[in-house]
Assembly symmetry: C2
Homo-oligomer: 454 residues x 2
């Protein structure tokens, strides 16, 4: 496979101090990372030095749970951090090629304001913006003057509507709507500016958006949901999927399922890139990598371990268990993130102890963990890439900034040597680097469709 | 007055191509300014070179009116531009001292998300963020799934509530809530993270905000409303007011009225800075300045002139009038921006023709216009600064970027020579440069108040 012309994609999934739950305690970690713009600047520049396609941050509009045991709360590091679009906009000015994937909620954000900030980011970054569409699994309704967290099905109905609405808003202006002819005094062509006149189940929005069409036509649409509803939404609208799979077989099932759903929507397989998460623990030798892994695992406080388990065992009394007892079955259904719950449930059913279960969750929150040398990490990527489980990977460094620097310095050159990864950026925009087409304006497409059918 | 230790403040009020309605047609203008990040970067860096306190953009979440005559719409340049926080966040990384004032609406934005993006900007800019609180005068309800634009009084009731809620959210974390002790594994002190538990007329928000307290304690609060309701809101909560006054007497009335209202809220006069807008038309000689003024006025198309007039003559039939007729009285009351309407009404009542009225509105939208040499512009600033009408000025360049560059190169040195303006930045944060205190955390203040009264 090493001389295949197909290139794999790399994303840097950034979590403030790193993806491991105890990352912030590691000597290499910037403990103040979540509020330190210089930390994030370094990461974006490192990812760009490594020719990554994109950097990505997850998000929830309200991440702190006041009802948790203070003993746990005092030891959790991910409760507060920057709003993603504000963060990436800043870093767009100190980078030139890397793409910026920001998470925003279809359940809790207003579609007009959401469309506007992403369109602005696409202009400001000169074509490097992407929206990670999430429905927000955890209940943050307490921050939004509404009676309660919408149920899973309702969240996805709303997401379907919001994505369509936002896509229309992004196309309010045709590419050549702004004329700006000083001599004649004609600034724009009103016939090329479109109201969206959206009247849906959840929203009534007239538009147009007050931002012109952006360099990429529109920001790249990214998704991560893996439930039935999530897969349908992704197959219809997403251009990149971040997914969590543990085994090659699961990765292949997900990959072929999603690619198979595309035709129903008139889309081709290459119009949606699938990028599973990968949590790489590097070492000069396999033994050193294992040591590094054990060291960071040793930094997890027992209170945190129980806290992690209780997030999944909703309504289950764990007080009679010790960490060395076999993990009991997980509750069948909650309003939590469904795909994540299934994954954890599958893990629990393999006979792990509660300690083994929380250690697995603590590291990569259900994502694939690979512990090894740079060659072994590269092999792990290639195995999935070459066998129908991935178009690329969302790299989840255990500890930041070193986990990303090490990957860039040690793994990227191996992938390049094997001819599987770029040695320079193909283009200036995220779409160009991902090999995604610049979409035709939806209003133009509809008009020419009407013309054809007339 | 020239050796007074009191220094005047300068803001650069940025409008894409400039404040004049025909600015974009001027040979000096960047016609694509509204969507050109390099244009804005140049402006922010020029303002910083001139040691300005701040740059400022106005905003409305939806600025385009599809019902207007296409002849007018095709000639209007300000219909689309970047979302302000996204814009300023980008420019915070290519500047180091200038403050960033972004406009956001209490009527149309969600308070939690609003608080979060501004808190993020304050961290990302290392203490240079400010929020210009607006209630949004023009009806943009069509973009927000609501039945109609809330009335003026309702908008201000809501604004009072939103400002308090946002101030609480910004103080969710005490300054020393984040401990980050790697050795003990204690990341934060849960006792120093506060829910806001806001239950008001319009909003129910539990909090806490998921951003730590920011470098300035909180972003600087700015306002521009001049109605009775606007003055009250400003006197209670604002730290800077941008205002529009035409005459020294009006400026003095506003200044002393606002400063007088502060004591009722337990505040001192120096805790609220008043910065009237000023539209400077520069020339090497008075005659040259007048020529420059006439040249840009000549760029206004008649269709635009009538369009401007109709914005104020709501419900009045102007079809029988020519531009050389005397301006009829304006309608007494609409749901428009009240303070702006009064100002225009006062102008109309002085016996201007419709042409004179629109020319006055086209230039500075009711702000003070000064046409002259750099010395004369400096004199105009000093007159108000020294006579109780201003603590500083919001400079509104007619055409950008040249209008700002000329002011920085020609007027700032005169103000410095007279000892009225800084020769280097006093501090790293906007508060330090404006001479505003870093506020005590509201939760800490309440707790110590309770202790004292116990």
């Amino acid at each position: 496979m090493s001389d295949s012309p197909r290139k794999l994609r790399l994303g840097a999934f950034i979590m403030a101090t790193g993806h491991h739950v105890a990352a912030w305690r590691h000597p290499d970690a910037d403990a103040d990372a979540g509020h330190n713009i210089d930390h994030y600047r370094g990461l974006a520049q490192t990812a760009e030095r490594g020719l990554f396609d994109l950097v990505f941050v997850a998000d929830s509009p309200g991440g702190w749970d006041g009802d948790r045991d203070p003993e746990i709360r005092s030891r959790v590091s991910h409760s507060a951090h920057f709003e993603p679009v504000t963060l990436w906009s800043a870093l767009s000015q100190v980078t030139s090629n890397i793409g910026f994937v920001a998470t925003a909620s279809t359940t809790y954000e207003d579609p007009y304001l959401l469309a506007r900030k992403f369109a602005s980011l696409d202009h400001i970054s000169k074509g490097r913006a992407a929206w990670n569409v999430v429905t927000t699994g955890a209940d943050v309704s307490r921050n939004f003057s509404i009676a309660g967290h919408p149920a899973h099905a309702n969240r996805y109905e709303r997401a379907e509507e919001v994505v369509d609405l936002v896509l229309d808003l992004w196309d309010s202006y045709e590419d050549d709507a702004l004329i700006r002819d000083k001599q004649s005094g004609i600034f724009l062509d009103p016939g090329k500016v479109h109201r969206v006149d959206h009247h849906g189940q959840f929203f009534d929005v007239a538009g147009p958006l007050n931002v012109a069409r952006s360099p990429q036509g529109r920001p790249v649409v990214v998704q991560a949901g893996a439930s039935e509803a999530g897969r349908n939404l992704a197959a219809r609208t997403a251009e990149v999927i971040f997914t969590a799979n543990q085994t090659l077989a699961d990765g292949q099932e997900f990959y072929s399922d999603i690619k198979g759903r595309l035709t129903k929507h008139g889309r081709r397989p290459e119009q949606l890139l699938i990028m599973p998460g990968l949590f790489p623990v590097l070492g000069g030798t396999k033994a050193e990598a294992k040591q590094n892994y054990e060291f960071i695992q040793s930094l997890i406080h027992p209170a945190i371990a129980w806290g992690i388990l209780k997030q999944y065992y909703v309504g289950v009394d764990l007080s009679g268990y010790s960490l060395d007892d076999k993990a009991p079955p997980l509750p069948a259904d909650t309003e939590l993130n469904k795909s994540r719950l299934k994954l954890v449930s599958d893990l629990a059913s393999t006979g792990l102890t509660l300690r083994q279960l929380y250690l697995s969750l603590a590291t990569a929150r259900g994502h694939r963990t690979v512990v090894g040398t740079p060659e072994q990490i590269a092999d792990a990527l290639v195995e999935w890439f070459a066998n129908g489980a991935a178009d690329g990977f969302n790299i989840m460094p255990p500890v930041l900034p070193t986990g990303l620097t090490d990957f860039v310095d040690q793994v990227v050159p191996i992938l390049q040597k094997r001819g599987l990864f770029r040695t320079e950026y193909e283009g200036a925009t995220l779409r160009e680097n991902l090999g995604l087409e610049r979409p035709i304006n939806r209003f133009v497409a509809r008009a020419s469709q009407q013309q054809r059918s007339a």
